[in-house]
């Protein structure tokens, strides 16, 4: 299971990083989403992988650490909200400038005077 989880995190992160390095807004948004998936699983795994264990200290030797689960919940909420925001930003940028390039247009006096 360790190998499966670790390679999944690695693969998703690699794909996310590749997509973030693209020039258009849509791949960047997808890349950021994938990165947040990878980091959620990573945080979850930080409390060690355990199967069929209670998430509380019961006096037994084996238990699943509940704290990373709480951290992941917070991280999911934040990354969900941020993804929604950046989608809206990308969309409005596309509608107002009619291009989905992530570059900032060149800055010149004539463009400002427009």
């Amino acid at each position: 299971m360790e190998l499966l989880v670790a390679s999944a995190i690695g693969l998703i992160t690699a794909v996310g990083v590749y997509l973030i390095l693209q020039q258009r807004t849509f791949p960047i948004v997808v890349g950021l989403t994938l990165l947040s998936y990878a980091v959620n699983i990573f945080l979850f795994a930080a409390g060690r992988l355990a199967v069929n264990q209670p998430p509380i200290l019961t006096g037994a030797d084996a238990y699943a650490d509940p704290l990373p689960q709480a951290l992941v919940l917070t991280a999911i909420v934040i990354s969900f909200g941020m993804t929604a925001l950046i989608v809206v930003l990308a969309l409005r940028g596309f509608l107002e400038t009619e291009t989905d390039s992530a570059d900032i247009p060149p800055d010149d006096l004539k463009a400002d005077k427009r």
């Binding site: 973030i20 807004t25 960047i28 950021l32 990165l35 947040s36 980091v39 990573f42 945080l43 795994a45 930080a46 409390g47 060690r48 704290l67 990373p68 951290l71 917070t74 991280a75 934040i78 990354s79 909200g81 941020m82 925001l85 950046i86 930003l89 990308a90 409005r92 940028g93 107002e96 400038t97 992530a102 570059d103 900032i104 247009p105 800055d107 006096l109 400002d112 005077k113």
Partner: protein, 514 residues
């Protein structure tokens, strides 16, 4: 219960803006006058609270407020010491000046300016107070989410594009932050800063590399926030595209990165961290020198006043980081002095640039010959004074700050490199500001444009004048100020008091009911 009562005030700088912002959205979402009144009252109250806490912390005791009365390290603690009190006071003072500036009309150009402004203050104050790394992440996010809203305030195509990049880079930084948190928690089993300071030295040799990776990732996150070269590319575009009061408030956002570096790497990974002691410190000086160099080159290449202001923030971060890179009491004293100075003058610079460009009609802030502007004598004087402060010429606080940087680095091995760079950079900055000032105020022709004394609002100019006066006061009262910063630096570098306040001296844990 007086002791408990005063400690309860530690959470007030987080609660007050949160309540204000929520109230502004719910109760007066369409009534701009009420929004302004409530917003200013709240900002004044926040400054009062910050002054009270600053006075409270100046006795040298560290106070820990346990949220929900959970014993540390299980619950979240908010910690007030000299360093956090100083940052709170700086943020509250800057916020009030910027808010008064924004009242002249900027706050009407988009919706919810005041609510977002107070949410931003909530994030800033929380980040300065928290004693828990994950909570620091949450407050960073609060701060950033509000800053996304403020950055896009009064939108426009260019601001949207710059905003997209700003959000994207910060999402990447947040991801790195979470990975760092995961690594640190996975190894030590705690995220409480005081608890970490105790557990990091005991980490076994096999886990050192993982923990070190976590710490370096954390450093990387703060470096993005503090705009270290080569992680600074987001800053000039964002700050130049944001509206003036927002850019002025953002002057303290880079300082949050510097604060977090001092806090985390002074308390947790400081001298007492065993095998991991001070491991990021060698990285700071090269980054600082590069940041100063790139900031200065950017200043020389600026074609508009906003770029000048944005790159002067980058350059000032470089100088600040040179002082931080020493990571001793003298270095931190200097760093704190320079931090306060550069926040005040950086913010003042963005505001004065806005005042100038709104009077220049279509040429805005571009450094091209244009019509003479109204109220040029007073605006020119303010611009000149602020430029003196930013560049580091006497008599304002920039001069003393730079002198302290030179003095503190005198005995380091790279003194020749640091001195040469700081001095050459100062010369280059003088040239760029002299050039900008002469184009704007002297290379003029034709009819005077802009609001006159009869029509112009006084408040924005007063806000700028207050910031300049604060910088001058920092210069006049440099002696007492340096004493305060010295005491702050001593406390920040000695984690024993911090650990004691958070972990040792707390009420015994209640026995849990079965």
């Amino acid at each position: 219960m007086t002791a408990g009562f005063t400690t309860d005030w530690v959470i007030a700088p987080a609660i007050l803006p949160a309540m204000t912002a929520a109230l502004l959205i719910v109760a007066w979402r369409r009534d701009i006058q009420m929004q302004r009144i409530v917003s200013v009252i709240s900002a004044v109250a926040l400054l009062g609270i910050a002054l009270f806490l600053f006075d409270l912390a100046s006795d040298g005791t560290v106070r820990a407020y346990r949220v929900g009365a959970w014993p540390a390290p299980f619950g979240i603690v908010l910690v007030l010491d000299r360093l956090s009190a100083l940052m709170l006071l700086l943020a509250a003072g800057l916020a009030l000046a910027v808010l008064i500036y924004a009242l002249a009309g900027w706050d009407k150009r988009g919706r919810h300016f005041h609510a977002l402004f107070h949410f931003q203050l909530l994030g800033l104050n929380g980040a300065f107070l928290t004693g828990d790394i994950f909570n620091l992440f949450v407050f960073f996010e609060v701060m950033l989410i509000a800053s996304y809203g403020l950055m896009l305030h009064g939108a426009g195509a260019r601001r949207l594009r710059a905003g997209f990049q700003y959000v994207a880079i910060n999402l990447v930084a947040s991801t790195l932050f979470l990975i760092a948190v995961g690594l640190i928690y996975g190894i030590t089993g705690t995220l409480n800063m005081a608890d970490l300071a105790q557990k990091v030295p005991q980490v076994t040799a096999g886990n050192e590399a993982l923990l070190k990776t976590g710490a370096i990732l954390l450093f990387l996150v703060f470096a993005i926030k503090a705009a270290f070269v080569p992680l600074h590319w987001w800053l000039p575009a964002t700050y130049a595209a944001a509206s003036a009061p927002v850019a002025a408030l953002f002057a303290i956002m880079t300082k949050v990165g510097a604060y977090a570096i001092i806090r985390i790497f002074g308390t947790i990974f400081g001298d007492g961290a065993g095998a991991l002691a001070n491991m990021v410190i060698p990285w700071i000086l090269p980054a600082a020198l590069l940041t100063l160099a790139v900031g200065t080159i950017g200043l020389l290449a600026s074609r508009r006043l906003l770029d000048l202001a944005a790159f002067s923030i980058v350059a000032s971060m470089g100088t600040l980081l040179i002082a931080i890179s020493l990571f001793d009491v003298d270095g931190l004293t200097t760093a704190l002095y320079y931090l306060v100075h550069s926040t005040l003058t950086g913010a003042a610079l963005f505001l004065i640039v806005d005042l100038i460009s709104e009077r220049r009609g279509e040429t805005l802030d571009w450094l091209v010959p244009a019509n003479p502007i109204s109220q040029a004598p007073i605006l020119g004087t303010l611009f000149f004074l602020i430029a003196l402060g930013v560049v580091g010429l006497p008599p304002l606080s920039g001069f003393i700050g730079k002198l302290m940087v030179l003095d503190a680095t005198y005995e380091t091995p790279h003194v020749w490199l640091i001195w040469a760079l700081v001095l050459v950079a100062s010369l280059m900055m003088t040239i760029s500001f002299a050039r900008a000032g002469s184009v704007v105020f002297w290379k003029t022709d034709g009819r005077t444009t802009g609001a006159t004394w009869a029509t112009a609002a006084i408040a924005p100019m007063a806000a700028v004048a207050v910031l300049v006066t604060a910088s001058a006061a920092l210069s006049v009262f440099a002696g007492p100020a340096v004493e305060v910063f010295h005491a702050t630096a001593v406390q920040a570098l000695d984690p024993a008091g911090y650990i004691d306040a958070v972990l040792t001296s707390q009420p015994a844990a209640q026995p849990t009911g079965q």
